[in-house]
């Protein structure tokens, strides 16, 4: 089994973390603003604008969870097979399908979504222009005439990068808190 499987859930897979970016500092506020604007773009279904906020070397993944006993040394986070294992090209393809096709029957009529992003903690990294950010997301989703919401929660391990003075998403790993997804599909971006 690949080594990633032994990573602990509390150990973000992506960045080697540096010094903490203090809550309320200008950089922190800039990062928080990125997430507020990103959620708005996604919930307003402005996916092609959202694509503009991604770096072209994007890594976008969502590991699976496999229920294991507490004493099992193997992590319950699985990265060999995931729910998303995408790069910029395939994320753009997914976004184009959702935006441009009338025949995207998974999302036509599309779900109404609301993303609540919280618990943002940010760190400097070895690279001056990159920041490692952990956030929580609660994605509420209502479909068609259903009187119920389906929802997904995840911890997101991101890398944000300054490109021409603006933050862009360079990596996102959404660790979903479900083993058996209670939704028929998850084409919605987290």
């Amino acid at each position: 089994m690949p080594q990633e499987q032994t990573l602990r859930p509390d150990a973000p897979a992506i960045p080697p973390m540096g010094e903490k970016i203090r809550y309320g500092s200008p950089r922190y506020n800039e990062i928080a603003e990125f997430y507020i604007e990103e959620a708005l773009l996604l919930d307003d279904n402005r996916l092609l604008e959202w694509i503009e906020t991604l770096t072209v070397d994007l890594l976008y993944t969502a590991p699976m969870r496999v229920t294991r006993m507490n004493e099992d040394p193997v992590s319950d986070i699985v990265r060999t097979v995931q729910h998303f294992d995408d790069n910029y090209t395939t994320i753009r393809l997914r976004a184009r399908r959702l935006s441009e096709s009338r025949n995207v029957w998974a999302e036509n009529p599309r779900a109404r979504t609301r993303r609540f992003v919280s618990n943002v903690s940010a760190h400097y990294t070895a690279k001056l222009d990159e920041f490692a950010v952990v956030s929580y997301v609660l994605l509420m989703r209502n479909k068609a005439e259903s009187p119920n919401y389906t929802f997904v929660t995840a911890r997101r391990n991101d890398v944000l990068r300054l490109v021409d003075g603006k933050l862009k998403l360079a990596q996102r790993e959404s660790i979903i808190d479900m083993s058996v997804l209670g939704v028929p599909h998850l084409v919605t971006f987290l």
Binding site: D72, T80, Q82, H185
Partner: protein
């Protein structure tokens, strides 16, 4: 729920409806009610899921002694474990003492199963080993300890796939697979080291009856044109401006059916066209060297004749089995997908649709690869599979949204009396020199193999299979 008391001949529901009223042979219709009927569902659990061979996973999921995964055979929980001698056992995950699950997680490694309730313990092969406070003999004296083991399903491996059944003295797995095995071999049993899973399966819930998914995979190629049109629009099935269905999804193909199983065999020429390679060489190995089978590397191609007959090689070169179903509730996909940039990406998946009551099933999706493939190739196959199939797949998300609507309709007082129709039959028309057995249908993907699926379902429900 009262069951057999209301079903004197085992073929009728409490309201007197017979299986033949549901699957109407004369007019090739199936009552929509079959998807939403509690009595029928209960009967299916007995007639199908408590008796049929069921695909539970792959031995590569549990490579080491003591490895186990928990799965379901219909409504029954089982634990699939590799014993210290390497043999795989499928035990009912129900403690013989008070009915508690003996294995709690989805996966793990253990020396024995110890029920958390009172602490009864079982070996990896299900054999009872003891109850705490041995001096008090808490398992009593009425039963021998040999009678206190976890109930054992009968297990047979095929190409590493773990099949199990509660029908201990019934047909062998070979008999069950019948003529479809010839075709399955060309996907799963064609290399020196065989196939393996790339990781644990994706699992998700769909609010629909398990049969809606299962019968679709019995070679419903037709739906691809409409339901999966978005991938065509994105240019992923050839040039978007062309509407010729032959270039879209291999819908002009050869479909085969046997014992309710079915496969669509897709003419590889369409891939050769994309790969800009010659099509017509009489030697199948020449063609297979130019474009290796899905998941194969060019270096592995010389292995093929060791494992496959000439007929199977011809099939693989000219008309490769690509997508289909294994009765009752499993499906497979083994295809090349065009990749951006014009190259081809191989992709190999197995699905099972595990019923969770009449209106809900768990979709389990494994990604597979040849064991011998490089880690890079395996990763690429998984990425391609994830992009198109399973929880976030651009193809299967459209199916997942559609099936629950059919399910909801099956509950309507009037709708449930409506029928689903399989009236576009091609009839058997096996091409000359076709190397395989079973019922063979060449041409556009019509209703034949799905209708065979329903006939199998009907036979099994009537104890005629």
């Amino acid at each position: 729920m009262k069951r057999d008391a209301h079903v004197p001949d085992g073929t009728a529901l409490p309201d007197g409806t017979k299986i033949d009223d549901l699957v109407r042979k004369q007019t090739q219709e199936v009552m929509l009610r079959v998807y939403d009927d509690q009595d029928l569902h209960d009967l299916e659990m007995q007639k199908i899921f408590a008796r049929s061979w069921l695909l539970l996973g792959h031995e590569s999921e549990i490579p080491n002694p003591g490895d186990f995964v928990t799965r379901h055979m219909g409504s029954d929980p089982v634990v699939v474990a590799r014993n210290t001698d390497g043999v795989i056992h499928v035990s009912l995950n129900v403690c013989t003492h008070r009915g508690m699950r003996v294995a709690l997680p989805a996966a793990g490694n253990t020396r024995m199963f110890r029920c958390i309730y009172h602490g009864w313990t079982y070996r990896l092969d299900g054999q009872f080993t003891g109850a705490p406070v041995a001096g008090e003999q808490m398992h009593g004296t009425i039963l021998e300890t040999s009678q206190l083991g976890l109930r054992q399903a009968r297990v047979t491996l095929y190409a590493g796939f773990i099949f199990a059944t509660w029908n201990i003295n019934g047909p062998s797995l070979d008999e069950f697979l019948g003529d479809i095995k010839f075709y399955l071999d060309t996907i799963f049993a064609r290399s020196d080291r065989g196939i393996e899973v790339c990781g644990p399966p994706q699992r998700f819930i769909i609010d629909a009856n398990w049969k809606i998914a299962s019968e679709q995979f019995a070679c419903d190629g037709y739906h691809v044109l409409s339901l999966h049109q978005s991938t065509r629009e994105l240019g992923l099935r050839g040039r978007p401006e062309t509407l010729d269905p032959r270039t879209l999804a291999g819908l002009y193909a050869v479909e085969v059916a046997a014992n309710g199983h079915s496969l669509r065999c897709v003419n590889a020429a369409q891939y050769y066209e994309r790969a800009a390679a010659p099509v017509d060489d009489p030697d199948p190995m020449v063609q297979l060297s130019i474009l290796p089978p899905v998941g194969f590397t060019p270096e592995m191609v010389p292995q093929l004749p060791k494992h496959l007959s000439r007929g199977q090689l011809q099939l693989l070169a000219k008309s490769a089995p690509s997508i289909g179903s294994i009765f009752p509730n499993s499906a497979l996909i083994c295809i090349y997908r065009p990749k951006l940039g014009g190259f081809l990406t191989p992709m190999m998946c197995i699905h099972t649709f595990v019923p969770l009551g009449r209106g809900r099933f768990e979709f389990i999706n494994w990604f597979l690869a040849e064991r011998e493939a490089s880690p890079e190739m395996k990763a690429e196959m998984v990425r391609a599979g994830i992009l198109f199939m399973g929880t976030t797949g651009m193809v299967e998300s459209d199916d997942a949204e559609t099936w629950p609507h059919i399910q909801a309709n099956a509950a309507g007082a009037i709708s449930r009396q409506q029928t689903v129709k399989y009236q576009a039959l091609a009839g058997e028309n096996k091409p000359v020199d076709w190397p395989g057995g079973g019922a063979v249908y060449a041409g556009f993907s019509k209703d034949d193999t799905q209708w065979r699926w329903w006939n199998r379902w009907s036979d099994v429900m009537k104890d005629e299979a």
